[in-house]
């Protein structure tokens, strides 16, 4: 934890009904200038955290600090936090320019400065000519840009975004991800972003907080999150993942052996396992599995049957039956001399010990 974070959640809890905790003891620092994403399935508490930060939901317990000031008792309009809502929440009875001028007007800014800033904000999102339109006359992507511009026009230090791209189609969503990322880089503003789309989170963020069940499961940079998941939930939620369940039979520092189905022993990296005899979930990325490996190169080698081949251009997605599971996925890269498989064929597959992470059950 750094000494001077922009936002600090300290032991924050939230319950809506007095029985169930939606957010359980949240501790999180957001650094200045950071793009932090709260990622998680619906109901994981990520939006609740954002709403508490914006001031629309009171925390049941704990304290939230903004710039080292506790803000639990500061009403939303005094927090000076920009926010982009899921459905943009552009005021339908105002033009685009009036929407952008609204935060400046309530700050009693002079009319000339208002115009100047509105123009600058519209230019920033390449909508300079659309000031006189009503939101309903804009496409989804344009509305999205106006919403971003409106959240930034009054120069807040912090901008919150609540699944802002959820309503856009795939191509537009990807384009907007880059635009928002570039705006963040250019302005140096701090962004807290909520999404349930992992690729969106990986594309845009400096750090990602993976939420599940009201708890941050892992807080790390995108690559660390993908390469080094710390528990089974994160491994499963981020990217594609093969799961193997078994019992730990040996453990020695970073190395361990896990027995699957009373037959096979898998050498794995001990990341999040207890002692001998406990259950563990092995996590293995599909692209790290090698077809017909050289026995000297890999620690783990098993027989498998090819069940299904799906041609995806850059790789061939191969479903194989392995160690009693029929949903084991291998990505065979479409490289110069890759293995040509046929459905029903028996093959050997193998992987490195360090690519196979032994996590909690």
């Amino acid at each position: 934890m750094s000494n001077n974070p922009l936002v600090r959640f300290q032991n924050v809890q939230k319950s809506y009904d007095g029985k169930i905790l939606v957010v359980k003891d949240l501790n999180l620092d957001v650094e200045k200038g950071e793009f932090l994403t709260m990622l998680g399935p619906s109901g994981s508490g990520k939006t609740t955290c954002l709403m508490m930060l914006a001031g629309f939901e009171p925390a049941t317990h704990g304290e939230i600090y903004l710039d080292n000031q506790p803000i639990n008792n500061v009403p939303p309009h005094k927090r000076g936090i920009g926010m982009v809502f899921q459905n943009y929440a552009l005021f339908p009875h105002m033009t685009v320019a009036e929407n952008l001028a609204f935060p400046l007007e309530v700050r009693k800014m002079s009319s000339s400065e208002r115009q100047e800033r509105v123009k600058r904000a519209l230019d920033m999102v390449q909508l300079g000519a659309f000031g006189n339109r009503r939101p309903a006359q804009l496409s989804g992507g344009q509305q999205q840009r106006v919403a971003v511009a409106r959240a930034l026009v009054f120069d807040p230090d912090l901008v919150l975004m609540d699944e802002p791209l959820g309503a856009l189609d795939k191509n537009l969503r990807e384009q907007m991800q880059y635009e928002i990322k570039h705006i963040h880089e250019n302005l140096g503003v701090t962004v807290v972003y909520v999404t349930h789309d992992q690729s969106e989170a990986l594309t845009m963020s400096n750090r990602i907080a993976v939420f599940n069940d009201g708890v941050i499961q892992q807080l790390a940079a995108p690559d660390a999150l993908y390469e080094r998941p710390e528990n089974a939930f994160v491994a499963q939620f981020i990217g594609e993942n093969n799961k193997l369940r078994g019992t730990v039979t040996e453990i020695d520092g970073d190395d361990c052996v896990v027995q699957i189905n009373d037959e096979a022993f898998v050498y794995a990296k001990a990341v999040n396992v207890g002692k001998k005899g406990e259950q563990s979930t092995l996590s293995l990325r599909p692209e790290r599995v090698v077809i017909s490996p050289n026995p000297q190169d890999v620690q783990n080698m098993f027989e498998a049957r090819v069940l299904e081949l799906i041609y995806l251009g850059d790789h061939i997605r191969t479903r194989i039956a392995l160690l009693g599971r029929e949903d084991f996925i291998v990505k065979v890269p479409n490289s110069a001399n890759h293995a040509f498989l046929r459905e029903g064929e028996l093959v050997t597959v193998g992987w490195l010990q360090e690519d196979c992470r032994a996590l909690d059950a």
Partner: protein, 414 residues
């Protein structure tokens, strides 16, 4: 035999083919709605059309006094009536007495010149015995027949297509030469009533808006369980008979009623000087506001229900106080609901009848009560029709104004 190819199909032919193809489904659609159309025509359009016609068309005098009508047509309304006119009048009166229609004629002329009813009924009794020259013998029966005003009234009454009833509805008097003049001051009652009707309707609309807006807001923002309960509380009176609710207000507001009893009990007023809360304009306002409140709440509620809470949240996150967020962001979005509710309440209120009749007393009655009076008591259906017509024109004008100012498209009924 040639068939039409794609190039030779012109617009008219295409239209004809389309019509032919659509004919069966159109016929079926028409047959399905025809019972309703028939019912609407018989029970709604035809009676209303007939009644509106009564306001400008009155053939009583024309039908029952044909000779007199003929004779009056050439008369210039100023010169002294001549023997020919007297003779025609006497001849008509003899026939009208035999046919027992003289009463209708007398009533008709009496509307033009009050007090002339008995002139006709009593003279008709003796008309058969009169002898020429009638110009001398008829005034012998009643010397009022020399009064030129009676003849002018008859000339006015003899016109079948007449603006007279509409003139009367606007407190104007139709002269026999076709010109208008204002009624005597003490007879100008309809304009006062019309203005009072507009005033009461306007006030009721405003009260409903002030009372209904917060209720609708609560309904739209509270959790579903609570708001459903509240909605039932709004709807329950809506399903109760108007008569029951109006009489309930009588029990509440009369001088020995619940409200006055409470005021006396708490010493706000003493037993001798209880407030008159009912049988006046106040009573009409209270009862009508209560009865029409759901008409305001429901459209407001449906509009507010459609406003996502994120708008107000967005406004607050942008730095607006609760007050600013409400007035600048929330309230403007409820205008369609306000418009719909206000127009509904106003239009229902302006034709309101039973509540003002029961609790309005003298100063709290409305134009519809007068219309009812003419329908059932004075039996002057033509005047009733004209008053109704004026009311309709006022409503349509206001509706048109509303469309110009707010826009009907902006209205949302649910």
């Amino acid at each position: 035999m040639t068939t039409a190819t794609a190039e030779t199909i012109d617009d008219a032919l295409l239209k004809k083919r389309l019509d032919k193809a659509m004919f069966r489904s159109r016929l079926r659609a028409f047959l399905l709605v025809s019972p309703l159309l028939l019912f609407l025509f018989v029970a709604f359009i035809a009676p209303i059309g007939y009644f509106l016609g009564l306001g400008i068309w009155d053939s009583t005098f024309h039908n029952h006094m044909p000779k007199t009508t003929e004779a009056l047509r050439d008369w210039n309304s100023i010169s002294e009536p001549d023997e020919k006119m007297y003779a025609a009048l006497v001849a008509d009166m003899v026939v009208a007495r035999e046919n027992r229609t003289i009463g209708k004629v007398a009533t008709r002329v009496n509307r033009e010149k009050p007090g002339s009813r008995s002139l006709f009924t009593s003279s008709a009794r003796k008309a058969a015995k009169l002898e020429a020259p009638f110009k001398e013998s008829l005034p012998g029966v009643k010397k009022n027949w020399n009064d030129i005003a009676v003849w002018q009234a008859m000339k006015t009454a003899s016109r079948r297509l007449t603006p007279g009833y509409y003139a009367a509805a606007l407190d104007l008097k139709l002269n026999s030469d076709g010109s208008f003049q204002r009624q005597d001051e003490k007879r100008r009652i309809h304009m006062i009533l019309m203005l009072r009707t507009l005033q009461i309707s306007l006030l009721v609309t405003l009260f409903c808006l002030f009372l209904g807006y917060p209720i609708a807001y609560l309904l739209a923002t509270l959790p579903a369980r609570t708001s459903n309960l509240l909605l039932i509380l709004v709807l329950l009176p809506f399903w109760t008979s108007i008569l029951v609710r109006t009489t309930a207000w009588i029990a509440m507001l009369q001088s020995q009623g619940v409200v006055n009893d409470l005021l006396v009990y708490f010493g706000i007023t003493d037993d001798g000087s209880r407030y008159s809360l009912i049988y006046n304009k106040l009573g009409t306002l209270i009862a009508m506001t209560h009865i029409l409140l759901p008409f305001m709440v429901l459209p407001l509620y449906s509009v507010m229900k459609g406003i996502p809470p994120s708008y107000v949240r967005a406004a607050k996150s942008l730095g607006a106080t609760n007050w600013t967020a409400f007035w600048r962001v929330y309230a403007p979005q409820t205008i369609p609901g306000i418009g719909a509710g206000a127009i509904l309440v106003f239009i229902v209120a302006i034709g309101y009848y039973i509540t003002p009749a029961l609790v309005g007393g003298q100063e709290g009655t409305m134009i519809s009560n007068t219309i009812d009076d003419h329908m059932r008591k004075s039996l002057n259906w033509s005047l009733a029709s004209a008053l109704g017509g004026v009311l309709m024109i006022v409503v349509l004008t206001l509706y048109w104004l509303y469309d110009r100012v707010v826009g009907i498209d902006n209205m949302k009924l649910g």
